[in-house]
Point group: C2
Chain length 219, copies 2
Amino acid sequence: MISNRELYPLISVDIALFSVVEETLKVLLVKRAQEPEAKKWALPGGVLKPDRDISLEATARRVLADKVAVELPHLEEVATYSGPDRDPRGWSIAVLFYALLPHDQVNALVRSKVEALSWENALSPENLLAFDHTAQLQAALEILRDKVVSHALPLHLMPEKFTLTALQRTCEAILGGPIDKSVFRRRIRGSHDLIELDEFVRGAQRPAHLYRASEGFKF
Amino acid sequence: MISNRELYPLISVDIALFSVVEETLKVLLVKRAQEPEAKKWALPGGVLKPDRDISLEATARRVLADKVAVELPHLEEVATYSGPDRDPRGWSIAVLFYALLPHDQVNALVRSKVEALSWENALSPENLLAFDHTAQLQAALEILRDKVVSHALPLHLMPEKFTLTALQRTCEAILGGPIDKSVFRRRIRGSHDLIELDEFVRGAQRPAHLYRASEGFKF
DNA sequence: AGAATAGTGTCTGTCAGACAGTATCGC
DNA sequence: GCGATACTGTCTGACAGACACTATTCT
């Protein structure tokens, strides 16, 4: 008898949802409740439902809506993983997406009785992940980094209004190292993606200008 | 009655196979023999066979082996296209790959009685393609360009031995515009991907040094 | 010699990295 | 004034674009 999976592979979607907590890049992990790989940590994912989903990106949005109670600003494909052995249930395809959650919305996680959610350090994960998710996370990180290196600003990770220093900290969190303040500011001065507001942050020091992302910026 | 496709989507692979003919970037197209979209030109593709393919990349290699009689040096994923409407047969997923064929092997096309093959100008295709293949071609081109812009040398498109001028012409074919010779040579001088041979091309002019790609170069 | 192609040298502007300096707040 | 943070100025080296120059072959 041949398995059903040899005719119809399992099609699912995995998501690397990134955010920034305490100036560190984090990724959302789920503790798997069911077999296979029960009790292991994994990237959130779910199977395609063709009767409900209009695309695989829609599948990803549906899966994410289960975990996070806010609209996600940014969702992008990374790569696809396939083969007969990566999932014990048989021939499977997983399309990996990454998503960015502004760090002022990190607490918008949905309470769930069946599964535990956790923000894990994205650059140096503590645990080995289920399936091929360690490789997936690595691939998502790489794309994220490439974008920032090639002068794209991770504005989707920022709250509506933010200071330049906060933006710099976010870039540093993604790249994993310090950036010279002068260099950083010189580079983004040429960018049309930022709009300077007439508002300031007042704290225990010199007030900082607030900025917001321009309407149709690209990441 | 619901269609079978609403339970099990059609999973296929499309390939943008690039090569260079007469210093122009070309892409291999197939004239579709069967419905749907019969007689329209399209990127070569085929459906996943889980009992035979060890991955979607393997599917792509199998499909290509039908069209081209040589081992392909380079095959890489571009993106995936999905949804209920992109193929009239119902919910479908197509994973797009691009592949590079050295331009001295452009004639290694397999004769086929059922389908016509053609090398089409990749930068400005003559015809509208079937399904969403026009968009797919555009996406594959973009990735190809990005790589060359970010200082990667398209050595997979070159024959085993080649001159620097030939390499430059290939880069120009991909980017669609001229490159300054001095700039080009200065940039690749720092590259460890090229090995200078002790051989020369003798023609009607000053002989040119031959080069080959180093073993483990990345593209 | 002249045509043709291979290959180099040089000038200039731009920009990144490094680091020091100035500005403006709370206390 | 002092600490802290925001923000700017400047020096230097590397590199890109542009373009002229030299080198080596064939006819």
